[in-house]
């Protein structure tokens, strides 16, 4: 897609793109290049010199059982966050779509959590499930269930998943609601006249029609779970207990800043770079499809 009408000259456009170019170069391309470069070296303990090790950092990384475990943790975490945020959102959107009046009121109320930062969401959920003062954990205790996410792996994972998914329910709801509103009424009515019941109509007509939105949300929620949940994990579990909630992004942080293992942290950044690249390709493949749709 190109404009037919353009202006002449090359100095002005270069000046216009210069600020963005400069900022991208300094804060994006240079650091990204540095990450790739550093991933090939091991710095000495004093940071004075470093030794070229080729792919040694990567070999070491994938030989490290903690790193491999972190991959599995990230996969489980992302799948759970995606499901826990998509399913309630779709349910609420379907119900809201059936309402003639009031749907926008509910929408206004449901938008709220989207504006709440993941780190703040983490604090809210931590407060509810705190082992000493948490209301929910206290009531669970009354029912004989001893909640302790500080010690229990599964409970820790469950808590960070719910806290991460919470704000995303709003986000996904908005997209599902918009998609459902765009489903042509006539198609649904035709099916209704032919005697198809609500569930049948939903699974054979509505769900296929909103599948582009669903797929899009699937991708962005996985991206979210990978990269934007750092605040939730840092506030609630700090990656614990015993790395049970250490997702890849958290490990880059804890190895690079807390552990000061720069070579490994850089190699991890490069691995994440590849993961992001793959996700971008998937997303654009899908975008392309939708343009021709």
């Amino acid at each position: 897609m190109e404009k037919r009408v353009t202006f002449k000259g090359w100095l002005l456009p270069l000046l216009l793109v210069f600020p963005q170019l400069l900022i991208s170069a300094v804060f994006f391309f240079y650091p990204a290049g540095q990450a790739i470069w550093q991933s090939l070296f091991i710095p000495d303990p004093f940071g004075l010199s470093s030794q070229f090790v080729g792919l040694g950092n990567f070999k070491f990384l994938f030989g490290d059982s903690y790193y491999r475990a972190s991959f599995v943790t990230t996969a489980i975490f992302s799948i759970l966050v995606t499901l826990a945020s998509l399913i309630p959102a779709l349910l609420l959107a379907v119900v809201a779509d059936r309402l003639i009046k009031g749907a926008t009121v509910y929408r206004t109320l449901l938008i709220w959590p989207y504006a709440v930062a993941p780190a703040v969401a983490g604090v809210l959920w931590l407060f509810m499930f705190n082992t000493r003062v948490g209301v929910v954990s206290w009531y669970l205790g009354q029912f004989g269930y001893d909640w302790n996410h500080v010690l229990n792996d599964g409970e820790a994972m469950g808590l960070v998943v719910v806290a991460s998914a919470w704000g995303r329910v709003s986000y996904n709801f908005l997209f599902f609601f918009a998609a459902l509103q765009a489903v042509p009424k006539s198609v649904v009515e035709a099916a209704a006249i032919d005697g198809a019941r609500f569930t049948r109509r939903f699974f054979t007509i509505v769900l296929p029609l909103i599948s582009p939105t669903t797929f899009f949300l699937l991708v962005v929620n996985i991206v979210y779970a990978f990269f934007e949940t750092f605040g939730v994990i840092h506030t609630i579990t700090s990656g614990g207990p015993q790395q049970a909630t250490t997702i890849l992004v958290y490990k880059v942080f804890s190895d690079g800043f807390v552990g000061q293992d720069l070579g490994s942290s850089a190699a991890q950044s490069v691995v994440l770079l590849v993961v992001v690249g793959l996700m971008t390709i998937i997303q654009f493949k899908y975008l392309e499809k939708r343009v021709h749709y």
């Binding site: 090359w10 991208s24 650091p31 540095q34 930062a117 209301v135 009515e189 800043f257 950044s269 770079l273």
Partner: protein, 288 residues
Amino acid sequence: MRALDTLPDGMVEKRGSSLWLSHLVMIAGVLVIFFPIWLAFVASTVTQPEIVKPPMPLMPGDHFFENYSRALNAGVNVPVTTMLVNSLIMAIGIALGKIAISLISAFAIVYFRFPGRTLFFWMIFLTLMLPVEVRIVPTYEVVAGFGMLNSYSGLIFPLIASATATFLFRQFFMTIPDELAEAARVDGARPLRFFFDIVLPMSRTNIAALFVILFIYGWNQYLWPLLITTDPSMNTIVMGIKQMFPSGDDTADWPVIMATSILAMIPPVIVVVSMQKLFLRGLLESEK
């Protein structure tokens, strides 16, 4: 809204009992979603002893002003007012900075053919999806090298180095009719004149929608401020809350922490709810 009201009732769905059920489900959904916020609000209006002896009350107490003024004026490490101001500067800086640089570069890409244009286009394309989380260590080193730790520019600049906004404006500029540019050219208007007189006014809604999205993006940043603001007086509110928890076994000052949490969510919530239409538009368009 679709013109559903014109249809006879019960055409697609039986109304009545199922309608009530729908409202019931929505209300239940809203209550469940709101519960964490409600609890935080309650905690911010009661005293510490009421919280540490569980179960805490589920209805607000009468210490609202006391807790909030304690948070705003004293906080734990630094008054929350300071953190609020820092967050505000950061969020507005990111939103305005990103909008400004992307507007002009999108204009250049769409309305000019200049050497290196394709290269530039691919470069910004690359920045599109790589979040700061992935390149934190080297980016931190760059910012430290410039002496920008504990500064607003250090908080803002690395986060505007992504091209999402440029793409959005490019998409929008492509929809501006060619006749307008042609007319401007025939009239002998210079490119910048065309930009300020035609393109900018036409982009107003898009700019506003993007502002809402970027403001929230900036306000809710956590990892980056955590790394580069070691000085409590430069903390942003979202990252500062975690710093209010005591290390070790001391009991956290829950009423103040929860008041701070509420204060941290008020600005973005106000922006989202009050500019809902713009926000929805920005959200649905920017993610396409």
